[in-house]
Symmetry: C2
Subunit: 413 residues, 2 copies
């Protein structure tokens, strides 16, 4: 079905990109904490950012930058300090970081985008950052994607990266990405960040539309605890180095590119949900029969975010009532007589009424699925239909365990 | 400041009401499970119901009844089976329950309202209910409120009841209420139910408006886990037996009555939040400075419902960052430079930036407040200001503990 294949690498898999990740002394742990992604040529740049009114300085900086000129050469990301709730000084720090990097790279400063993750309320350690910038530039390489993926994580248990390749007009086109996020937001270690590179040639407005739609089907459809962060940032570059014809409007080529971009975003989003704090498995919720895709996604997201449904999955309990209740309160109108719910292949509810089913067998499915017996990896599948419409959507979450409470009650004390 | 005083009793404290609660054999535990509240005369009736599209049969029954005629003589409530997700048979059971009670009470069947709570997907045990109805009618008494409060609970650890009295035109006017709910919704033991009685004389439309506004400031402002239930029901009767002049429009008398009605609803709502599953304390969130009250309530509710903020309170951790992040994602526009956050008397954030504060002392406040050292009972106070507007709102929640996960992961397996 899919038109692409997975290839090795991530943000440096597409042509014309170099990356690096180094230890700049920003994290108290001494782990890698400064990442840089550079395109050899000016790349079209699109972004999707947190909708919170409490936003980090780099988020506002990138939004303004991309509004005035939707292109870039470099993305600089520090981990350790989120540069959120830092007032006007945070804004100055973001600008100074961009300016210094531009100077070292010998490019205009408006070609630089910046991102931060780490402790909210803490300024970036600017001395360490300034000393680190020449080093991270010196470390740039065409195989530096893994090092960059390492340098952007905070409390993540694993790095998240992917690269896919397709063919457009007989030439290979690649998209690669890295992401960080452990839980939708970690307590004080804000955030979800993702950086995507692509070597297709595409018009700025079309690239932004594609990215916004891909985010709606991926990063906006994952939930660990419902807490959107101050720093959430998704930036995607497209530098044209695949030397394929420019894509300027929707059509076969654009659809192929957008499908692959969406797949990259979904892979990274699921990796974040799977790495959710205390999670023992990924929950994939598929909703069909809605009046439109948006409504389906909303129902899916509400189920994936329900504390009761999440607790039930942790308990490997085939509790259809909690799934039905979450669907019902999602803010989407449907006839409860149309409600149908399955866990894996077990049909639990039909026509809005519970069915007799083998509870022990359904619980056994949950245990096996969470342990990775079905699908790829540890995924529990919840399928819900709410009517006869063509609206379809997916969402991903993780189960709610004792460890979630433990991590969040004790982390900072 | 307040214009009323607390008096003993609950739904039978206002004049002209009798109530009862009996063991009808509906709950497997054998505990009381059938409650009845009767007004001696026809009472004006208002209701507020779940907004979920997955609704129990009695919810639809009461909504239709009150739309056609906003008055009633009796409220019958069973505990044990929720009569939700029961299809057309559930609807028939609701109607038959009302008809049989009407027959025994010798009143028209459209004077009867019904409510159910218990396991979703289970029909009411109609044989037990039918045998119980004559018994619960025989048990009616002017001191039967406590028995009714007992018979409507399911997994609640305590009953919830209150009565207040004020003076209108030199005559006492009383409002009493009972409620059930342990968590916003217990896994399969749906629901939040509350029944309120009043002996004032008030016009139907005004009474409904007052109740809707009171619900917006009370039951709609509590959150334990964000899961709205299939059965949520608030019904309020006003029978005029105080023999005070009829209140037909807003004015001094109406404001006094509405303030007391709001206080009754807030007391019961807080009692539900405090009895939240696994809760060790109540969180009271007060938001000021919003453009209007609705916006303030929305921010308050988002903070009270944040899993991260709730986990921090459980850990007695003065984590301003999680409160700021929740305020920012509430969907209400404000300038983050105006954000101010306090825990008790500790100012943690001002002008959108963290302040230096004594973390150990603030944590000590949380420990003491949660243990009941301040305010009445075990309440932690979170105060947030988001600007210079006059909008003001409160919300209540409870902390998120290991026991919440334990109760919900293991309850039904």
């Amino acid at each position: 079905m899919t038109d692409w294949q997975e290839i090795s690498g991530n943000v440096t898999a597409p042509r014309g990109y170099r990356a690096a990740g180094i230890k700049a002394g920003l994290k108290p742990s001494g782990l890698p904490d400064l990442a840089l992604i550079v395109s050899d040529v000016e790349a079209i740049a699109a972004g999707v950012f947190t909708t919170s009114v409490v936003r980090a300085a780099p988020v506002d900086y990138c939004r303004q930058r991309l509004q005035s000129k939707p292109s870039a050469r470099a993305i600089l990301c520090n981990a350790g300090q989120a540069n959120a709730a830092t007032g006007s000084q945070g804004w100055i720090d973001a600008i100074e970081s961009a300016q210094q990097l531009a100077q070292v790279l010998n490019i205009p400063s408006d070609y630089v985008l910046v991102a931060s993750t780490g402790v909210i309320g803490q300024r970036i350690k600017m001395d360490a950052l300034k000393a680190g910038i020449p080093q991270v530039v010196a470390a740039l390489s065409e195989t530096g994607g893994d090092a960059a993926a390492q340098a952007i994580i905070t409390t993540d248990l694993v790095t998240k990266s992917i690269a896919l390749e397709t063919t457009i007009h007989d030439r290979p086109v690649r998209i690669g990405g890295i992401a960080k996020g452990s839980g939708m937001i970690h307590p004080n270690m804000a955030t979800m960040l993702s950086f995507v590179t692509c070597d297709a040639a595409v018009s700025p407005s079309l690239w932004q539309q594609m990215l916004s739609r891909a985010a709606d089907k991926s990063f906006n459809q994952i939930t660990v605890d419902g807490d959107t962060s101050t720093n959430d940032t998704l930036i995607a570059l497209a530098n044209g180095q695949s030397r394929t014809p420019a894509i300027t409007e929707m059509g076969a080529d654009a659809e192929k590119l957008e499908a692959m971009l969406t797949a990259v975003c979904q892979y990274l989003a699921k990796a974040i949900a799977r790495d959710g704090e205390g999670a023992t498995c990924l929950m994939e919720v598929v909703v069909s029969g809605a009046t439109d895709d948006k409504a389906a996604r909303q129902v899916a997201r509400t189920i994936a975010g329900s504390s009761l449904a999440k607790s039930a999955i942790f308990g490997r309990d085939p509790n259809w009532g909690r799934i039905a209740a979450a669907a019902g309160r999602a803010g989407v109108q449907f006839d409860q007589g149309d409600l149908q719910i399955s866990l894996g292949n077990f049909l639990l509810m039909e026509n809005g009424q519970p069915l007799a089913f083998d509870r022990a067998a359904a619980s056994a499915y949950l245990k096996a699925a969470a342990a990775g017996a079905y699908l790829k990896e540890d995924t529990v599948l919840i399928s819900v239909s709410i009517g006869n419409g063509s609206g379809f959507g997916k969402a991903w979450g993780c189960d709610l365990s004792y460890d979630y409470v433990k991590i969040n009650a004790e982390y900072t004390t």
